[in-house]
Symmetry: C2
Subunit: 105 residues, 2 copies
C-alpha cells in the first residue's frame, strides 16, 4: 500500500508540462501530468493493445481527439479510450490530470 | 473514446455511499464512489491478482488499511495497493473517489 500526494509532488513549470510517475507495475501505469494554462499534452497514440483513462483532478481545459474533436475537461471528468486512438489534453487554466494505462506501456 | 462527468452523474445519498460504474472492459474497471461525510467504503479485500488505485477527486477523509492503519485522503491523493490487501475509505466531508482496478474484477 502506498500513497502519492499529487498536489504536493506534481509541479507546474513554465515552458512545458511536467510528468510525475505515480505508479508502475505489471498491472497498470499511473502518471500525473501538470499542465499550465496554455500548455498541452499533444494529441498522440500508440499502436498497442490496452486502454488509457484520463481523470481531471484540478483546473480546466479540453480533451483532444481525432479529426479535431474537443470535449470539455473539467474537474471530475474522466476520458477513456484505446491507447491506439489519438488523445490529448489542452489546459485553459493550470490543469492536473491523472492518466492510468492498462496494461502498462 | 468516451467521457464520464463524475461530478454530475455521481450522486450523494443519505444512508449509504453510491457507486457509479465509469468504465468496464477487459483492461480495467473504473468505479466512482460518492461517500457522504460520516459514511465509509468499509475495509475489504479480494483474494485475487491485480491492483487497485483510489484517487480523491473532492472532499476529505481517510484511507483505511490493515491493522487499523489510516492515511489522510485529500484531493489529489492516490492510494495504490494489491486487491488482496485490505483497503477502505472513510469520509470526513462529502467525498468523491475514483477506483481503478486492473485487471478488472
Amino acid at each position: 500500500m502506498k500513497k502519492v500526494e499529487i498536489f504536493k509532488e506534481g509541479k507546474f513549470k513554465d515552458g512545458s508540462m511536467t510528468r510525475l510517475l505515480v505508479h508502475e507495475s505489471p498491472y497498470m501505469k499511473v502518471i500525473n501530468f501538470n499542465i499550465k494554462a496554455g500548455q498541452m499534452l499533444p494529441l498522440h497514440s500508440h499502436d498497442i493493445e490496452g486502454e488509457v483513462s484520463i481523470a481531471v483532478l484540478s483546473g480546466s481545459g479540453e480533451f483532444l481527439g481525432k479529426d479535431g474533436l474537443t470535449l470539455p475537461a473539467e474537474v471530475g471528468d474522466v476520458l477513456v479510450c484505446a491507447i491506439s486512438e489519438p488523445h490529448g489534453v489542452m489546459a485553459k487554466s493550470d490543469l492536473r490530470i491523472m492518466a492510468t494505462i492498462a496494461p502498462p506501456i
